[in-house]
Subunit: 221 residues, 2 copies
């Protein structure tokens, strides 16, 4: 669960706090999480959170940038490997975009990504600082994947590539946090916790949707 740089192997209290903060913020949201609950989950005094991260906003930002940075480094590394080998398929690009979020924020208890819901909630928050945090954390990576999709799909203009990217991320992120909804609506034939099966379908769905946007051209009505 922890995200540690190579070489630093011993868990420190400062990182224990980040781990606890990620779990509690993901479960209860920014406003719903309390510094008390995070301190208790980390097994430290509440005052230590303020010593290391100053405010609740500071702790949230440190937690968020640690996890999003780890996810996006993996995404871009996979993209770079593929691009070095030639023109990757749309399916490969989508897979490289989606899988790291599932794996990096994996929750062993529930089988999904605890972090996925937090990204959605943070990106649509009313506060400017939280929306800015998502922009700073994700826009550079997003720009590179939008460029890769444009290269893979002649006919995909910039507006269509942007919407297509946002549709793909939205479709998959909303399914990563297991809610039991797929199980219930399918009578048990689709299982929330089976993120591999969900991802395989998401790749098929997303690649076809992106190809259709490219084929439709700039004027859609």
């Amino acid at each position: 669960m922890a995200v540690r740089a190579a070489g630093t192997s011993k868990p420190t209290a400062k990182e224990d706090i980040l781990d606890a903060a990620e779990a509690v913020f993901a479960a209860r949201g920014f406003e719903g999480a309390s510094m008390r609950a995070i301190a208790e989950a980390a097994g430290v005094a509440q005052a230590l959170l303020h010593y290391h991260y100053k405010t609740k906003e500071g702790l949230f930002e440190a937690m968020f940038t640690r996890r999003s940075g780890a996810i996006n480094r993996i995404r871009l590394a996979r993209l770079d490997v593929m691009l070095a080998r030639g023109q990757p398929s749309v399916e490969d690009i989508v897979e490289a975009l989606l899988r790291p979020t599932i794996e990096a924020g994996h929750d062993p208890r529930r089988g999904g990504s605890r972090f996925a819901g937090l990204i959605l909630a943070t990106g649509t928050a009313e506060d400017d600082w939280r929306r800015d945090l998502v922009a700073r954390s994700y826009d550079p990576m997003a720009g590179r994947f939008i460029a890769a999709l444009t290269a893979a799909l002649p006919g995909l203009d910039r507006a269509a590539a942007t919407w297509g990217y946002l549709f793909v991320v939205g479709a998959a992120l909303t399914q990563m946090a297991p809610t039991g909804r797929a199980d219930r609506l399918s009578g048990g034939e689709a299982r929330d916790e089976d993120t591999d099966a969900m991802l395989a379908r998401a790749v098929v769905f997303a690649a076809a949707g992106l190809r259709a946007l490219a084929a439709a051209g700039p004027d859609v009505h």
Copy 2:
């Protein structure tokens, strides 16, 4: 903005409170919204909220079921009209599914649906009562649209139809609350506030994705 039954035309304080609750809950989330802020937005004393709706949870549920009920009545009415005329296209089904959420929760100040983000946050909440509220409010309608998609697309098994439905809703809902992200990522060529253009692209994207899921059959890898 208010959702009133036909025949009852005068705004009452009880409904003013629901309107204010929807605005404040949508802007700040369940935990971030306070009964004080809702009372102030409604122009009534805080105690009146408890008189009419007992608790914060009771007010949230009344607000949520009013809006989701209004949206789903429109969705199902459109679906029934189409089915009475014969077999609707996948595009028509998707359009009937997505447009009512944009229109019913429309925010005249920002150009998007304030309610969309609230649905996502409520469906992924940790509390059972909030996830149950989403299930009660949306599952019956979802079941009918999944059945309609299955009828329109031979080859779409139940698991694929369920995931397809959830992908479509997730892709569109995440774009309905304007965050400025499409503008920024596209250099201004895609505009967040232009929900009609977003919806037109979403229909193309979703219909192609659903057709690909049907063509792929039950075994996807």
